[in-house]
């Protein structure tokens, strides 16, 4: 199933003392997204309660949930990139030596960085365009371009994370298994 064991991957990221600032940045992003989701849950619950007790729901709660979802998706990304949370199939490459697997992973991770860079570049362009339109959401009047800001930041930071960790894997993959070194 598309999920992974809670917390089990944290250790892998944390065991790289060199990138601790990057890790913390990703963690802050993920926490901010998580708090936004949690705040949305509180607000929607309040809205439901108000509706049940006849006060009418909170105006625009529907829109707020949509905005939070977009922000979450963007802010969650870098942490997932850092902790190698993206699913892959390792069954057919398990015969490779550990260093080879690591180098291959590093190569894909660098490509991942390239992919996120392109998405980030286009989103930055999208931000500009939407900003030019000056669109606002229907009920809350929230400027739509603002939701492009976390999107650009999240994909940009993911690109950075992917480049740094990917190159690290490529380099250290040659030298041996850095996981055992670090531990």
């Amino acid at each position: 199933m598309a999920e992974h064991t809670p917390s089990s991957l944290d250790g892998r990221g944390a065991s790289r003392p060199r990138f601790v600032w990057l890790y913390r940045l990703c963690l802050v992003c993920a926490g901010a997204g998580g708090l936004a989701a949690f705040a949305a849950a509180l607000m929607v619950t309040l809205s439901v309660l108000m509706r049940i007790f006849g006060f009418g729901g909170i105006r625009g709660d529907f829109e707020a949930v949509e905005l939070v979802c977009a922000a979450c998706a963007s802010l969650f990304l870098p942490y997932c990139q850092f902790t190698r949370g993206h699913v892959m199939v390792d069954l057919f490459t398990n015969w490779l030596p550990a260093a080879g697997q690591r180098r291959l992973d590093g190569f894909w991770t660098v490509l991942f960085g390239l992919g996120w860079s392109i998405v980030c570049w286009r989103l930055a362009h999208g931000l500009e365009t939407i900003h030019g339109y000056g669109d606002r959401t229907m009920l809350l009047g929230f400027p739509v371009w603002l939701i492009y800001v976390p999107a650009v930041a999240g994909t940009g930071l993911s690109a950075l994370v992917a480049f740094i960790t990917g190159i690290d894997d490529l380099v250290n993959g040659r030298a041996g298994d850095p996981v055992t070194e670090g531990a």
């Binding site: 199933m1 598309a2 999920e3 992974h4 064991t5 809670p6 917390s7 944290d10 993920a30 926490g31 998580g34 989701a37 949690f38 949305a40 849950a41 509180l42 607000m43 929607v44 619950t45 809205s47 439901v48 049940i52 949509e66 939070v68 979802c69 977009a70 979450c72 998706a73 963007s74 802010l75 969650f76 990304l77 942490y79 997932c80 990139q81 949370g85 993206h86 699913v87 892959m88 199939v89 390792d90 069954l91 057919f92 490459t93 697997q101 291959l104 992973d105 894909w108 490509l111 992919g115 392109i118 998405v119 286009r122 989103l123 999208g126 939407i130 939701i147 492009y148 999107a151 994909t155």
Partner: protein
């Protein structure tokens, strides 16, 4: 180049890259982008990428995913699983194989507040494995029952896989949740029977022990009333039309947090930890959803899904043969692929095909039926070796049980699952009868 040839090339290259360890989201996104450029030109891809990310995720429906994941993670950290296992153990634990059945029952209850299979398997294993070991249960039976029980996490609503299926096929999420109820019940009964037969054949693997007094049994049940309450409020509210799935998930987050904080000793640290866990699990799903979106838009440009559907519609092949072929394909792919990626990749092609065939059902019934079959089949992929994620989770938690023993332990459950799939295919009404009853 022929659009059809490009589409086929995309699929072949995609599979090759996935098997070469490329992260699935990246593989789908990059192959999709390449196909998009060949079929629609690079300027239209660039135009699409300007807004695609935000358009995709500024979605009320997709917001259900992180909310239900958050609810499940809070539940995981709040010690709810120990209470659930305790209550079912109190009633059936003393029978032969009873602890394994209690683990399955605990998983089923946990699954009703969690949409995740791995979380269900791991959280229940933490409490049930030591108990089973203490009472002399074999590694095969303990691991097998927990791995199989874990699949109830995605089968019993809320289910992340069903939410994604609903979005891909534009079906009603509430109806799909309802549709999964009877198949999930059959799964629980099937697992119970599998355990009962297994301990009859190998009595030493799951010995019985002294029952506990009734007074304590009732106390254990009273200890879980608030957990049952969450389930009743959240799913009851959704089914009863009192609130939308996103509202239900939000209420569920708050209720689970309250229950955890008041009774389970959930701390502020645990809450922050749940938020971070939610970030990791959701980002992985969102990345795949985005990659699959690029891939599927490109595939749609080639018209391959509609062409294939039309071809099957006119081919005169018996619809059931096609359905069986799809199921066999899923079972084989499920052995090596991750379930969400599989759904995102195949449903856009298979769904129109199935809808073009005449099973003698209404379109809505066909959609519900196919959704449930897809869910059940990919869910079975979680426990089929060599790549069954649940097996690895159990294995990582039970170092004393060799992986080979765990694989062996799943055999009775895989057999029970196969029987259930045959049942669900043979009697489509099992997947929509309840939906019709509730929604009229």
């Amino acid at each position: 180049m022929e659009p059809m040839a490009i589409a086929l090339g995309m699929i072949v290259i995609l599979l090759a890259l996935i098997f070469l360890r490329m992260p699935i989201a990246l593989a789908m996104g990059s192959v999709g982008a390449a196909g998009y450029i060949l079929l629609g030109g690079s300027s239209s891809l660039i135009f699409y990428l300007d807004t695609a990310w935000v358009d995709k995720f500024m979605s009320y429906e997709l917001a259900i995913v992180p909310l239900f994941i958050l609810m499940g993670h809070i539940a995981t950290r709040s010690g709810i699983s120990a209470k659930l296992f305790g209550a079912s153990n109190a009633w059936i634990g003393h029978f032969r194989g009873g602890l394994a059945m209690a683990a399955v029952a605990g998983c089923a209850m946990f699954g009703s507040i969690s949409g995740s299979s791995l979380a269900t398997a791991s959280t229940m294993a933490r409490v049930a494995l030591p108990e089973m070991r203490k009472h002399g249960y074999s590694g095969a039976l303990s691991a097998g029952s927990l791995a199989a029980g874990g699949t109830l996490g995605i089968l019993i609503p809320p289910s992340v896989v069903l939410i994604i299926y609903a979005l891909l096929t534009e079906q009603n999420i509430v109806k799909l949740f309802l549709a999964a109820t009877i198949p999930a019940t059959i799964a629980v009964i099937g697992f119970f029977i599998a355990i009962a037969v297994f301990v009859r054949l190998f009595p030493e693997q799951g010995p019985n022990h002294a029952p506990i007094p009734y007074r304590e049994r009732f106390r254990a049940v009273l200890g879980i009333w608030h957990i049952v309450g969450i389930f009743v409020v959240v799913l009851g509210g959704i089914y009863g039309g009192f609130f939308t799935p996103a509202e239900g998930a939000s209420v569920g987050v708050v209720l689970t947090l309250l229950v955890g904080a008041l009774s389970g000793g959930l701390t502020f640290r645990d809450l922050i930890g749940s938020l971070i866990d939610t970030a990791a699990a959701s980002a992985m799903i969102f990345a795949i959803v985005f990659g699959a979106d690029i891939f599927n838009v490109a595939l749609a440009l080639s018209r391959m899904p509609t062409d294939i559907a039309a071809w099957f519609g006119q081919s005169g092949l018996p619809p059931m043969t096609v359905m069986l072929a799809i199921v066999v394909f899923y079972l084989i792919m499920g052995c090596v692929m991750d379930s969400l990626s599989m759904i995102l990749l195949t449903v856009p092609v298979f769904f129109p095909t199935v809808m073009a065939l005449d099973f003698g059902l209404t379109p809505e019934h066909t959609a519900l039926w196919f959704g449930i079959i897809t869910l059940v089949v990919v869910e079975m992929g979680m426990i089929t070796p060599p790549v069954g994620m649940n097996l690895f989770v159990i294995s990582s938690m039970a170092k004393h049980i060799p992986l080979k023993t765990i694989f062996g332990g799943t055999i009775p459950f895989i057999l029970s699952e196969l029987l259930r799939i045959i049942l669900l295919i043979a009697f489509p009404a099992l997947s929509f009868w309840l939906v019709d009853l509730v929604t009229g």
